[in-house]
């Protein structure tokens, strides 16, 4: 670039910035300062040349790749935000063609981790799209947070200054928020939290997660899990007899001697486990309910107590029995299914806007013929009323109501005793994806495509609370065992915990890499598990909002999760046609040990039960710890 061009550019720049009497500055002798000339030149280039982005990015990338292994993974974290913003800038400036070429040549680097985001961004081709698209807007409005050690940070700065790539420097300066810490770089494995995408929102997340949370159980609801404490001695004998009876009922193989021995062993372990759980229970804090709780009738209470007394203790040594309900001839129309708490009722929501409820107890009996007659040849109860695909149908805890939600934006309450629709709740503006009863019934939560979750009671047709804040669709919802909180999982890859009383968001859990599809709360209320589209399950500790460990094993969508009655096992059902059992107790116990030796331990996958090409849609541990599963067979009907 010759001096005249430099002159011209400087004048033009000054004019643009409002210095009309640019001649005054011409007295400054920048021609003789080579550094200054170079800087000006690079500025002029970056202003009008889209290929600078490509050049700068590919240099930065290869520098990162060639750096020392010790710092490599930290330096490579910087690459992704730079890539995203290079692309956004290119699109924003209208260089559509270059943007597309840039994107396609480097997208492979990030596909592994950020596939969903890339797919979203790929379609953005015009500046107007950037304005319109939620995701792009949030990216532009926020900063990336990157944890990086001092040494890596220095290295990066050094590189940026040495190469004078002001463009890259600009992007990094503008879009990335470094959290520099002293000491050695972290190992590559625990970098889940080190890059968080939406910075501004993450700051609030940090802030939000400081709030106090009472995750303990309700104090006057001892019978729910605390019933074990008082009944444990009495229950021992009974459960022994019961388990023997069960084994004779269920067990079809083996000599009886062996069986007995196993039973004894099982009881011994059960005793240990029982003591452990009672220990754990005694340490769980009690909290007061914030909502007015419905009164439970005594006979219901008694039946629950009876169930708890007969509960089989599960652990890694004592596996549950799994009963599988298979839907056949669904013709691809089954959207959701659910199982009542005692496993006797099974409901399916279909895309032809019908709900079908099967009473398994009646089907097994001889009187099923009479049942068929009164239902017109069917052995299920058909509930019609919705005018769009039914996306959920769930049972109230005692099993006397069914709650369904549909694409027609309504939620309907049905009675299983009358086989009729009782209430239609209107309020959502879009498809209602799911509705869930609270652990004690009466209250329920729903969530929708309109990005809100709402709390309702059965006797009012308007919602009591509305929870807004997710950046995308809310995809699943789960109540905390003490009814004071609900958790929601969303397409924005976060899980949030909301206070039911105040409607405030009290926790944000960041770490999933794709849409969150299922949630489960441990019975003691301390932990939460969430499953996503890629098959990863994450265990969270509610109080700290930290991920304890990811459970990796499924290779497709995790549709459903369920904790066993005493919280020692987690069952997960997935689109890869398997039910997996995970040992949760050992890991949560080991968290203390983990603190000591700083070694993150993985939850163990105990068993995998493959089904015969049946994706698992619903799982439910009954109060007696029998696991029920349901799903439609995906084989074409012959």
């Amino acid at each position: 670039m010759d001096p005249e061009q430099v002159d011209e550019f400087v004048m033009g720049y000054l004019k643009k910035k409002g210095f009309n009497n640019g001649t005054r500055f011409s007295s400054i002798d920048y021609h003789n300062d080579p550094d200054l000339t170079k800087l000006i030149r690079s500025f002029s280039q970056s202003e009008n040349d889209p290929s600078r982005y490509r050049e700068g990015y590919s240099k930065l990338r290869s520098w990162g790749d060639n750096s020392l292994d010790l710092y490599k993974h930290e330096l490579l974290r910087v690459i992704y935000p730079v890539f995203i913003h290079c692309y956004i800038n290119l699109v924003g400036k209208g260089h559509t063609q270059e943007a597309r070429a840039f994107f396609n040549s480097f997208r492979k680097d990030h596909e592994m981790v950020h596939l969903r985001d890339l797919q979203k961004l790929e379609g953005v081709l015009a500046p107007s799209h950037l304005q319109e698209m939620e995701f792009a807007r949030s990216l532009r409005q926020s900063k990336f947070n990157i944890k990086i050690c001092q040494c890596s940070y220095d290295l990066l700065l050094q590189y940026l200054h040495r190469t004078e790539s002001t463009l890259m420097l600009g992007i990094i300066n503008e879009r990335i928020n470094f959290q520099v810490y002293s000491g050695q770089p972290n190992s590559a494995s625990d970098d889940i939290e080190s890059v968080t995408i939406s910075g501004s929102f993450h700051e609030t997340a940090d802030h939000v997660n400081q709030k106090e949370i009472h995750w303990g159980l309700l104090e006057d609801r001892l019978q729910k899990t605390g019933g074990l404490l008082s009944d444990s001695e009495k229950g021992q004998g009974e459960s022994k007899a019961d388990s023997k009876k069960r084994s004779s009922e269920i067990g079809k193989q083996g000599s009886s001697v062996k069986k007995l021995k196993k039973d004894k062993a099982g009881n011994a372990t059960a005793k240990v486990a029982r003591q452990e759980t009672s220990m754990a229970l005694s340490t769980t804090p009690r909290v007061k309910p914030e909502l007015a709780m419905p009164v439970m009738s005594t006979d219901v209470e008694e039946s629950i107590l009876e169930d708890l007394r007969n509960r089989v203790q599960l652990s890694s040594l004592a596996m549950p029995s799994v009963s599988f309900y298979t839907f056949v001839n669904t013709h691809n129309g089954l959207n959701s299914s659910s199982i009542s708490h005692d496993g006797s009722l099974v409901a399916g929501g279909f895309s032809d806007s019908s709900i079908k409820v099967w009473d398994m107890a009646k089907i097994g009996q001889a009187g099923s013929c009479a049942l068929q007659d009164e239902n017109g040849g069917r052995n299920y109860t058909l509930l019609l009323g919705h005018s769009g695909p039914v996306y959920s149908a769930t049972f109230s805890p005692p099993g006397d109501y069914v709650l369904s939600s549909s694409a027609d934006t309504t939620i309907r309450l049905w009675s299983t005793k009358l086989n009729a629709n009782l209430v239609c709740y209107k309020g959502h503006n879009h498809t209602v994806w799911d509705a869930q009863f609270s652990p004690f019934g009466h209250y329920f939560a729903s969530f929708s495509h309109d990005r809100t979750a709402r709390i309702w009671t059965m006797d009012r047709i308007h919602p009591l609370r509305m929870m807004a804040g997710h950046l995308s669709d809310v995809d699943c919802v789960q109540w905390h065992p003490n009814c004071n909180y609900i958790a929601t999982g969303s397409s924005d890859k976060t899980v949030r915990l909301w206070d039911v009383q105040t409607g405030e968001c009290v926790r944000i859990f960041v770490g999933h890499r794709s849409m969150v599809l299922s949630l489960a709360m441990s019975p003691d209320g301390r932990y939460m598990a969430s499953g996503d589209e890629d098959g990863t399950i994450m265990m969270w500790e509610l109080s700290t909002a930290r991920c304890i460990t990811p459970l990796i094993g499924h290779n497709s969508c995790v549709w459903t999760l369920s904790y066993s009655g005493e919280g020692s096992l987690l069952a997960s059902g997935s689109a890869d046609c398997t039910v997996k059992l995970w040992d949760v107790s050992s890991s949560t116990k080991l968290t203390k040990a983990e603190e000591k030796n700083g070694n993150s331990n993985r939850l163990r996958s105990l068993r995998t039960f493959p089904t015969k090409s049946t994706p698992v849609h619903a799982l439910r541990f009954s109060r007696r710890n029998l696991l029920f599963a349901a799903g439609p067979t995906s084989k074409p009907a012959s």
Binding site: T96, Q97, R100, Q119, G123, L125, A126, S128, H129, S247, I250, G251, K252, Q253, G254, S316, L317, M319, P320, S321, V322, S323, Y325, T326, F327, V328, N329, T330, H331, N332, N335, V346, G348, F350, S351, K356, I363, P389, Y391, A407, H430, T431, D473, D475, L517, S556, C557, W559, A575, C577, L581, R607, F609, T611, K612, S613, P615, H617, A629, A637
Partner: protein, 528 residues
């Protein structure tokens, strides 16, 4: 720059009646179209996830359009994959094949069968952590090596519970299933039920634990029930179903199964009643043998050699009964052409000379014996014929034969078939000497007026009741003429393929014209 080409925009614009769309506008629209389509597809994927599916359907796209308050797509909900056709003359232009349907046809058509109603079935996926091997569950790896368990134990420490591989544990359901199948197999009353049982055996998973029991059962019953033809036949059907089941690894039990199968092939006596069609059983078993060899020949190298040795011994032992010879020949035929050439064709001449006296009705007074001999003769003919057919098939196709000749060839085959059928059907009647006469000359039965043989046209037709003398004369002349032409052609073949030509000549010498039906018609016409 978009993945939607400008032309697509233009075509779409034309289809909705905008003719004056400028290329610039189309170029501007393309990126936006791409963006919108992607947006809708993302919504559709969301809809799919909430329907708990992993395949995208047209209804998901409709759902996505619905969420955006847009008109859904019409005419795609009927299900079934779309067939895209390439537009003639264009490389990258496709269209859906959408046929026009006549209202009359639609109204007149019978109602389609109503789809089956949704049902719920229940089974145990696991019992105390162990998956029972029932048909409802996915097939398990049943045989777990104990070594694996040990490794597992060492790796995970003492925390993990190691259950020993389930041994000798047969669930109640499986026991019942076995009993039921055994019962049905042994009873001769309900063929429909038996058919169902065979289908179940051939397709159900989770039957693997029963395989040793079934092999045992089959071996026992075959040795016990040699006199009961029907049971033997049922048992062989059971064997075939077991072989067909893809969830069963039958290899380890093959050595137990083979003796029973071979017994059913070459036993001296199968069934004790005269009416029992034990030939059919032998044929069926021969097919079974060939199936086994095809499937396990690769993994089980000695199988074929051992089989052919056993069968060869049975064939070449003159002391064995003719029925045994028949079974051996059928078995060898099923084993393939190489075996046939090696074991049958090489011994054909001496064997036929041995068989000759049996065939002769005057010498062999016992009609039964003579019938059996004819059966064996037929089987031999078939084996040799198939073999030579196979050889000739490899011949290059010679210039197109004249249609009339082709016709002739066909006629010959048909007539030969009728002869064969007749031969098996009524050979026990006293027509036998007469027929033998026919077969040794040409095999065309003059009585066979109903037969479709077009040969009759160019043949001096004898009236009913004609003396066999004159007919005989006639035939002889014809036969002679043919043999001469045949010789000439065979010479040519000989030039083409020394080996097969020689074989053919030899076979021709032994069988006269009866081998001809096995020669493919086109080649045959060449000969003629």
């Amino acid at each position: 720059m978009s993945i939607v080409p400008k032309e697509t925009i233009e075509v779409t614009a034309q289809s909705i009646g905008i003719t004056n769309l400028s290329p610039e506008a189309a170029l501007m629209l393309a990126p936006d179209v791409e963006y919108r389509v992607r947006e809708i597809m993302q919504e559709a994927i969301k809809s799919m996830r909430h329907s708990k599916r992993t395949t995208l359907t047209a209804s998901d796209v409709d759902g996505a359009l619905n969420l955006r308050s847009l008109e859904p797509t019409y005419g795609f909900a009927s299900g079934g994959p779309f067939r895209f056709r390439k537009a003639v003359g264009h490389q990258d232009l496709f269209y859906t094949d959408d046929r026009e349907v006549d209202f009359k046809d639609v109204i007149g058509a019978p109602l389609p069968k109503a789809p089956l109603d949704t049902e719920l079935v229940c089974h145990w996926l696991a019992i105390e952590g162990v998956q029972p091997a029932i048909p409802e569950n996915a097939p398990l790896e049943v045989i777990r090596a104990p070594a694996d368990n040990k490794i597992y134990e060492q790796k995970d420490g003492p925390l993990i519970d190691v259950r020993p591989p389930v041994k000798h544990v047969l669930s109640r359901e499986l026991q019942l299933y076995f009993q039921k199948i055994a019962e049905i197999t042994m009873s001769k009353s309900s063929p429909a039920l038996f058919k169902e049982a065979l289908v179940s055996l051939a397709s159900d998973s989770g039957l693997h634990p029963l395989v040793p029991y079934f092999t045992n059962f089959i071996a026992d019953e075959v040795s016990r029930g040699l006199n009961d033809f029907q049971i033997l036949f049922n048992l062989m059907h059971v064997v075939r179903s077991l072989l067909q089941n893809p969830h069963i690894h039958i290899e380890p039990y093959l050595h137990q199964l083979m003796p029973s199968v071979v017994t059913c092939l070459v036993s001296r006596k199968l069934g004790n009643r005269f009416a029992d069609n034990h030939w059919e059983l032998r044929d069926f078993t021969a097919k079974l043998v060939s199936l086994i060899c095809k499937r396990f020949g690769n993994t089980y190298h000695t199988l074929q050699s051992r089989l052919s040795k056993t069968l060869g011994n049975a064939l070449l032992d003159p002391k064995k009964a003719l029925t045994q010879h028949y079974g051996a020949i059928q078995g060898l035929t099923a084993l393939g052409h190489n075996v046939v050439r090696l074991l049958i064709l090489s011994n054909l001449e001496p064997y036929l000379s041995l068989l000759e006296p049996e065939l002769d009705c005057e010498k062999q007074k016992n009609q039964m014996k003579s019938y059996e001999a004819w059966r064996v003769y037929g089987a031999l003919l078939r084996a040799a014929g198939l073999c030579i057919h196979d050889r000739l098939k490899v011949f290059p196709n010679l210039p197109s034969p004249s249609p009339s000749l082709l016709h002739k060839g066909k006629g010959k085959i048909i007539s030969a078939e009728t002869r064969k059928r007749k031969l098996s059907a009524d050979s026990s009647q006293n027509q036998l000497p007469h027929k033998r006469l026919m077969t040794t000359t040409d095999g065309l039965r003059p009585q066979d007026h109903t037969g479709p043989a077009p040969m009759h046209v160019d043949k001096p037709m004898g009236k009913k009741g004609n003396e066999s003398e004159s007919r005989h004369q006639n035939e002889k002349e014809r036969g002679k003429g043919r043999v001469i032409t045949m010789k000439a052609i065979l010479g040519q073949i000989w030039k083409d393929d020394l080996d097969s030509g020689r074989l053919l000549v030899k076979l021709h010498q032994l069988y006269d014209d009866r081998i001809l039906p096995f020669i493919p018609s086109t080649e045959m016409s060449v000969f003629l």
